[in-house]
Symmetry: C2
Subunit: 214 residues, 2 copies
């Protein structure tokens, strides 16, 4: 497998965590989102993903080379094709809540701080990215914490990491970039600490990627 | 089951389509998103969904009454608990592509036209909703069509409806509200026609809901 990724892309980070957690080897190809107007807009990358975004997972399925995009679709694909170790609980409610929490981040918070959106806001409407993003991230993470209180053990749903935690960790990193105060989000901070004690979460961190500009 | 819904909410519409397609009966409770500052912000609804949004599916799981939110999480829950008739193909690639297409809408387009986002853009930054939304919808649907050409039969992936079509149809309705020109998106228009010939898609349309203001 080959992953087209950018070190600071939170959606790429989700897929890196899942691949590492499941012990799957892959080749890493960096797609720089800012240089030369954004390599994601190159013809080569457009052919991989019509949305001109990372991540893209290049994978052999039934003898054909396929390009899969959209991090949540890739997570579900990995869970179905490499079920162990699992990233969803076994029970219907736990599975639903793991996905619900993941979606708070995936559709509820992350799109609001998406690169293209921030670029359009700045260029066409002169809106400041930090002033724009911070309340969505703060409200979204507060809603996440409130919901996670119903199911959390060491992680967001029970005592093993799920899709929820995989989405949460990059979002907390972005919250810090946008100066969101998380000091009262005690449960989230505890979950983050538990995640970051695991090798898979360490390996997936932006600073550990070949294209990291630290 | 009971669905907390708003007639024009595209995420509620997705869940209504899945429920109808799978032949599941449910009670409908309208949550008006605009009246009285938005009923989704009431204490009663906050207790159901910390994100203060619709849809919420109230459902009995293993003897407990649960409130599930986030349309994609609900679709996955319904597919796992009521697998027939299926809303995902059987093969790994078809499943991944159905979800990838659904995510183009779910995380790539819909959040940009989300009610709260438009309210904040208008109130705090004086940005016009139509001017803001139209290019995201146009680009997103163009990316959807390009990707769907690889897998489409009568529907986006093969000859049966999937999560992809369930997300596409409400997004095309919103495209028209935001005056996006879809006249050259021939494949999407054909898929829409095929969907709207099905009873489940007819029943889920906003105009057919008890709270429709037509």
């Amino acid at each position: 497998m080959k992953l087209y990724s950018y070190w600071r892309s939170s959606s790429s980070w989700r897929v890196r965590t899942a691949l590492a957690f499941k012990g799957l080897d892959y080749e890493y190809e960096a797609i720089h989102l800012l240089e030369q107007g954004g390599i994601q807009h190159s013809e080569a990358h457009k052919a991989r993903n019509s949305m001109e975004q990372v991540p893209v997972l290049e994978v052999d399925i039934d003898g054909e080379t396929r390009h899969l995009a959209q991090s949540m679709a890739i997570l579900e694909f990995l869970e179905e094709t490499h079920p162990e170790p699992a990233l969803l609980p076994e029970d219907a409610f736990g599975r639903a809540r793991s996905r619900q929490l993941a979606e708070i981040v995936n559709s509820g918070i992350q799109p609001v701080q998406n690169l293209l959106l921030l670029q359009r806001l700045g260029r066409s409407f002169d809106v400041d990215a930090k002033a724009w993003c911070a309340p969505f991230i703060a409200d979204g993470l507060a809603a996440y914490e409130k919901l996670a209180r119903e199911t959390a053990g060491d992680f967001s749903v029970g005592d093993a990491p799920t899709f929820a935690d995989i989405c949460l960790i990059p979002q907390m990193y972005n919250a810090r970039r946008f100066k969101v105060d998380m000091s009262e989000m005690e449960l989230l901070l505890q979950i983050e600490q538990n995640c970051m004690a695991l090798d898979a979460f360490k390996a997936a961190h932006p600073d550990q990627q070949p294209d990291a500009a630290v």
